[in-house]
């Protein structure tokens, strides 16, 4: 779309549009490449990988479903489906929560841990190859800062990432 001075819409400048497209296109291709390489090398999707990462960072490798969903910015139902599939693969297990009988605790199994440990080096290398090592440290830091600002703004600053 080209800018149109006859409307009240505040269009993007040509420069902003180029930058926006670079961002969208670059991010889409980057995430697609990472997804593809992780799947190829380890059989995990990035979503499954992220689930394992989050669980691995808690003392008892356990999280409530809702916390996991919030952390990953996934819908509850999406997480339910994902966890069910991962449970079938033996990567995680679900146990009812004692303190809150509505709740469900999701725990990483030993197999899940081993799968994560085996997958991590390859994935980290992918992130390096396609993102971190392609940019200067300053560029990469700017990327992180900017997107953190975006995230805080989107979540009303109320999101704690743990």
């Amino acid at each position: 779309m080209t800018s149109d001075t006859s409307t009240e819409v505040q269009w993007l400048t040509a420069e902003q549009q180029t930058q926006w497209r670079s961002f969208r296109g670059g991010a889409a291709r980057l995430f697609a490449a990472l997804e593809h390489e992780l799947e190829r090398d380890t059989g995990l999707s990035t979503h499954e990988y992220e689930v394992l990462v989050r669980l691995s960072e808690t003392p008892d490798r356990t999280l409530r479903m809702a916390q996991l969903a919030d952390n990953l910015a996934h819908s509850r139902s999406r997480l339910t489906h994902t966890i069910r599939r991962m449970e079938e693969q033996g990567l995680v297990s679900r146990v009812p929560c004692v303190e809150d009988a509505r709740g469900v605790n999701c725990t990483m199994t030993e197999k899940g841990w081993q799968v994560l440990v085996a997958a991590a080096p390859s994935h980290v290398q992918s992130v390096r190859d396609h993102l971190v090592d392609v940019l200067t440290p300053e560029q990469f830091a700017a990327l992180g800062d900017a997107m953190e600002t975006v995230r805080l703004h989107l979540t009303g600053g109320a999101c704690h990432v743990e």
Copy 2:
């Protein structure tokens, strides 16, 4: 594979990890928000919107399926499905290509044009609200530059247009 001084994995520093997570999390939430708002306000998915944008930028509002797929970084089959659905909605039409009997030209209909014109202001505003106006011009420019570098690296510098 990069040449490494040892067989050990080169992990990300704590700082890099934070930045990477901010980037991934922020981008995921941003794209999800834009998708949701576009769908809510116009009934279009971002993929359909992008198809219409690309078509609108050619002189005759027409592109070959393969060019469209490359432009959007979508698989051929994905594009075929998307275009079939859009054709059912009357947004685009497909006609066999004269120069190359294998090919198919995808053209925007008048309805498609009107839908795009009606959708664009709302979408641009969303992009402003959640991204452009949240950052300084320098931050936003840095984002675009960095992701353009990433994109060029991923596509071997062989990707044109945009």
